[in-house]
Amino acid sequence: MSRPPANLLLGGALVALAALAALVSLVWTPFPHAALDVANKFAPPSAEHWLGTDQLGRDLVSQLMVGAANSLAVALAAVALGGGLGTALGLAASAMGGWVEDLAMRICDLGFAFPALLFAIMLAAAFGPSLANAALAIAFINVPVFARVARGAANQVWVREFVLAGRAAGRSRLALTLDHIVPNVAAAVIVQATIEFAVAILAEAALSYLGLGAQPPSPSWGRMLAEAQTLLWIEPMLAIWPGLAIVVTVLGFGLMGDGLRDLADPRLVRER
């Protein structure tokens, strides 16, 4: 284990690129992202507008950067919230065992039985369209995923002898969970979080594309795609750039998740 796996490095680099764009957008963009300049619409790439402008003359680079910030923020919030709740639920179910565990897992099955994105659309529609609600909706569909991962990993730890030894030493289930279970399921949960990040980015793009996420004038990659759709035959690049941003970021998180899993469990490294 002298070198991190190549997929982790490449994935990390792609994610870092998106994260960098998002961070920089907080303090600086080439142009105000919503500044209209109708006289200058559909401008080709130039020294001034690196990737050109859209149908209202807005700078594409600036929109992509702010879009990155929105997409990553939604994904981060969704995974942190959904992952935190789901992991806690899974750990609790595993610690309680018996009918409590069964009930919790059946509820998760119910969550899985729903098409995830449809569920998110329903929730976003119910709460009203906004980035925050999109994040909530995506967090919600993440809960059963993390609950199942955490509970599965935790169940494997509960039967290990050091947990038995802890019980024999009179420790409570809560104490055992915090001291022994959490550190030993952290790897599995972190790997899942990375993968779910990719899913969340896609889900946010889809929700924004459908008008249930970012609201004008706040840009997001999904909303840029939606706006570019009608102009696909006039100016295809307007759709290609945000599409590319989504693909690269999702790919980055996917590769990173694979790489982290390889690090966490070397036995899973595929033969090359």
């Binding site: 002898e161 802890g166 030493a169």
Partner: protein, 320 residues
Amino acid sequence: MLQATSLSVRLPAGEALRGVDLSLAPGERVGVVGESGSGKSMLGLALMGMTPASARLSGRLTLDGRDMTRARERDWRALRARRIAMIFQEPMAALNPLRRVGTTVMEPLRVRLGLTRAEAGARALALFNEVGLPDPADRLRQYPHELSGGQRQRALIALALACDPAILVADEPTTALDAEVAARIVDLLVRLSRDRGMALVFISHDLAAVARATERLVVLYGGDVVERGEVGAVLADPRHPYTRGLIAARPRPAPRAPGAPRPRLAAIPGSVPPLADLPAGCRFAGRCPVERPECAARRPAPRPTPHGLAACHLLEEGAP
């Protein structure tokens, strides 16, 4: 102090323990032997109130006069560590690889006894000294992988002793260790039991270790107590065919001429059947060399032997 009366543990797969009687006086050392699958470990877990959630207990188990047969996890937790503690077979697996050994040992001291960090550290140091760990101050700061197998088992014994339990259940504490280290751990357990007046339940399939560690012997097979008695007498003069088989299966290095054929190790034919397939009568039926037709159907009652009890139909009829 501890009294199990006709204690049974039923798992979904079958009956893991059937009517086990066991009593333990302060300072007493009892050995529990049997093959894998004979119910030894289930007995150890039952004494700790740590049988699997799917297990159903019947009979009666009392600790300090309190009936614990239907006790809840909360009640058990109050007794674990302080009254009854346990050590396990795999000293590597019984320590969390991600935590320092000292942290693990100090935990019950701080949580159960409410000691401060400094007090618990001093106490852990004393415990490490008592169990014979060299350089105890350094050991406290190390991670499990930095200790040898014998040192890990000593650390686990220190963990089990942390709250001065009256009873220590040792579930195959020497199985994962090499013979020399195993003998020293056995001697340590005996010394601790004597010094502290602590009762010891020593679960093992190693008859030599049990003979060295204990005073009384309980032989388990298929969840039944098949024979019990004073350890030396039972091993010298076993009355149950299963006990005889176990003793015959013990490897004994004997002098032999160079080039002479190695004597074959005696073995009990077959293996313990799965719980669901255990015969209803004598559990040993099907593998017993002196089996009678009625054995598989009718359960033999314990009969007195010169040094204890044994449950075999042959004894009921006064046969040798």
